[in-house]
Structures are given as structure tokens and as C-alpha cells.
């Protein structure tokens, strides 16, 4: 498996292609939307709920990119949680 084995897996994988990048991002967004619907933060914890979108995601994106996006999703969720908590605390303190 190359970096981009979507339609032309025999070709040299091309992260240099804007089209391929966009395809990867789109399938990632689809997968993450599915995770959101299933209330799962960490990719991989969803079981078989998002098998379809996950397959496309893994087909369209390089392994290193998938690791990166997955890690960033978890970090972003954590950050969101901290921000929400901080906001709640600030509101409590104002009262």
C-alpha cells in the first residue's frame, strides 16, 4: 500500500496532488462525522459503527496522515473540554 491507494494504487502515490489531498480530507471528515454521531472521541473506539467511512478514510489517506489526524482529533476534543470547563468556571465565579 502506498501513501494514496485510492483509485490508482499502482501509480506513485501523490500527496502533491491537490485533488488527492482533498479526497483524503473529505473521507476523514466523513469518518469523523460518523464518530461524532456515535459519540466516540478516540478513533478506533467505535467498534464496527463506522466501518464504511473508516475504510474509505484509510484508502484515501496515507498511514502517517491518518495517525496525525486521529491524534489531533483527540487533542482537539481534550482542548474543547478544558475550554468548556474554564468557561463554566468563569461563569460560576462571576455569579
Amino acid at each position: 500500500m502506498g501513501w494514496f491507494s485510492s483509485s490508482n494504487s499502482s501509480e506513485t502515490p501523490s500527496a502533491t496532488s491537490r485533488k488527492d489531498r482533498q479526497r483524503c480530507w473529505d473521507s476523514r471528515d466523513a469518518y469523523f462525522a460518523c464518530l461524532d454521531a456515535a459519540n466516540v472521541v478516540k478513533p478506533g473506539d467505535e467498534g464496527t459503527a463506522c466501518a464504511d467511512t473508516k475504510k474509505t478514510y484509510e484508502q484515501n489517506c496515507a498511514k502517517s496522515w491518518i495517525d496525525y489526524f486521529n491524534k489531533r482529533r483527540v487533542l482537539a476534543e481534550q482542548q474543547q473540554g478544558v475550554l468548556t470547563q474554564a468557561k463554566t468556571q468563569a461563569e460560576t465565579a462571576r455569579r
Partner: protein
């Protein structure tokens, strides 16, 4: 004990009984009284200056007249009119000398400041890389044009393309206003995978004038060091490996002398970049009468 030495001691002897032989060892009170009486016959300054060891009456002690002049000179010391004039002249001379020196120093500092904006960081330096067309490219090729330089790699997941799109959009806007005075440049930090054809494919999708530069690991490492860019590509990475490169994601704004002006991060918008470049181009135009 002579009359003169007694007279010098007179302040000390005031409390003690006056010996009959020392007629002149008088108290200050007496001296003042005598002065008042003698003002008609003697210069008044003698009285005013000498509070209590009074000038003896010349009629009573004629030898004291000459010794009084000698003592005046002794009291003045070396501070003669000539010395005073020399002192004042030297003072004036030194004053003007140092003022002149200070002016020279300030002038020199001002000239130094003209060459560099205060606080401008030492970013940039000599480098020798290859363009996406296979031509050599050095820091000399930055001269005579404003440049926006981004360090990244073609396998970059999302940040590099976003930043390069932003840079390209800014260049388009600046082209509309000024013509082609801003040169966008992409420098790869992934020498193992970013070959010349790979970089050529990559840059063609962003901006027609975007110059993609690559080179060997060592030349890229040296270039990044000169530009204060961090990157984490392992030196032994293979072209087929699947890895990401952690790197600084600023793009640099350099002036037509190849000097660093500013850096833009993820927080800067296209408008921010355009506004900053416009401001700098205006400043340049005011200073040099041209835009590049």
C-alpha cells in the same frame, strides 16, 4: 617670640592675657574697631578680608608693609590671573572638544541605524539549492524582489497546503496592485522524498510563480539553520518511507536586499499579509524612490 609670629597666633592667644610686648595681638573686636578707624588711610579691602589679625599701623611697624604683599600672594596660591585664564580656556576647549566628539558618535550611530531596523533578527544567510526546474538558486536570487518564503514538505497533511494557499492568495493580490514584485518561494525540509520532479508537481498547483527549492540533507539543514527553521526529518529517511516532518510553519517576508522583515504564522490572514507587505513597500518607496 617675634611680633609677626605672635600676630599669626593671635586667634589662639585671644583667651590668654595679652603679653605687654605684643601690642598687635588684639582680638577681632579690636581689630574691627581699628579698621573702622583706619579706613581713611588704608585700603578698605585689607580690613574686610582680615577679620582679626589686623594690619599693624605702618607708623608703628614700617617693615610689615612689604610682608603683607607677600602674604597676599601666598593666600592666593598659584591662582594668578594668567592661571585663571588658562584654566577657563582649557575648560572651554574641552567642552567644545567633547561636544564635537559626542556629535560625531551620534552621527555614526544614526548611520548604523539606517542600515538596520532596530531589533531586526538575524534571519537568513547564504544558501545554494536547486529549483523545481533544476536550476541553481542562491540567496543572491532573492535580491531585487520582495520574497515570501515558506519551509515545508510535499507530504504535509494540512498545514503546509493551507499556508501555501494563503501565501499564493496574498501574492495574487499584491501582483494586482504592484505587478510582479513579490516572489513566493517554497523550500523543502524533506530532502529524502522531495525530489526536483516531486517539488515541481507540488508547486505547480499553488502559484504559477512559486519557486520550489530542494537539495541534499546537509544543504537544507544549513539553509534552515540560517533561517532559524526547525525540522525533524531523520537524516537516514528513505524515499519510500511514510513519515511526517515536524517543522516550523512560519513564512518569512524578506526585503529586496534579502533582509528579513517579518514572519507570518497560522494566525495571520491573507489581508494581514497583504497589509504588512504594502506597508513595507510604501516605506521602501519613500526611502529609495522605487518599489524593489
Amino acid at each position: 617670640m617675634s611680633a609677626r609670629s605672635l600676630r599669626l597666633l593671635s586667634p589662639l592667644l585671644r583667651a590668654s592675657p595679652v603679653p605687654p610686648s605684643s601690642r598687635h595681638a588684639l582680638s577681632a573686636h579690636h581689630a574691627a574697631q581699628r579698621c573702622a578707624l583706619r579706613t581713611a588711610s588704608l585700603p578698605s579691602r585689607t580690613c574686610a578680608r582680615r577679620g582679626y589679625s589686623q594690619t599693624p599701623d605702618p607708623k608703628l611697624n614700617p617693615t610689615q608693609q612689604t610682608s603683607s604683599g607677600e602674604r597676599d600672594r601666598a593666600a592666593i596660591g598659584v591662582f594668578t590671573p594668567k592661571a585663571a585664564a588658562l584654566f577657563v580656556l582649557t575648560g572651554i576647549g574641552l567642552y567644545f572638544y567633547f561636544r564635537n566628539e559626542k556629535e560625531k558618535l551620534l552621527e555614526q550611530r544614526r548611520k548604523e541605524r539606517e542600515d538596520q531596523v532596530v531589533g531586526r533578527p538575524q534571519v537568513g544567510g547564504p544558501f545554494s539549492l536547486t529549483t523545481h526546474k533544476g536550476e541553481p538558486f542562491t540567496e543572491k536570487d532573492l535580491l531585487g524582489k520582495w520574497s515570501l518564503i515558506y519551509f515545508g514538505f510535499t507530504n504535509c497533511p494540512d498545514i503546509c497546503p493551507e499556508e501555501l494557499d494563503k501565501m499564493s492568495a496574498a501574492v495574487d493580490k499584491l501582483d494586482e496592485k504592484y505587478g510582479q514584485i513579490v516572489q513566493p518561494i517554497f523550500i523543502s525540509v524533506d530532502p529524502a522524498r522531495d525530489t526536483v520532479p516531486q517539488v515541481a508537481r507540488y508547486v505547480s498547483e499553488f502559484h504559477p510563480r512559486l519557486v520550489g527549492l530542494t537539495g541534499s540533507y546537509d544543504t537544507l539543514k544549513a539553509t534552515c539553520k540560517a533561517y532559524r527553521v526547525y525540522f525533524s526529518t531523520p537524516p537516514n529517511a528513505q524515499p519510500g518511507d511514510d513519515y511526517l516532518v515536524d517543522h516550523s510553519i512560519f513564512f518569512y517576508f524578506m526585503d529586496p536586499n534579502g533582509q528579513f522583515v517579518d514572519a507570518f504564522g497560522k494566525a495571520s490572514s491573507v489581508e494581514d499579509v497583504v497589509a504588512r507587505v504594502e506597508k513595507e513597500v510604501a516605506r521602501w518607496e519613500k526611502e529609495y524612490g522605487r518599489r524593489v
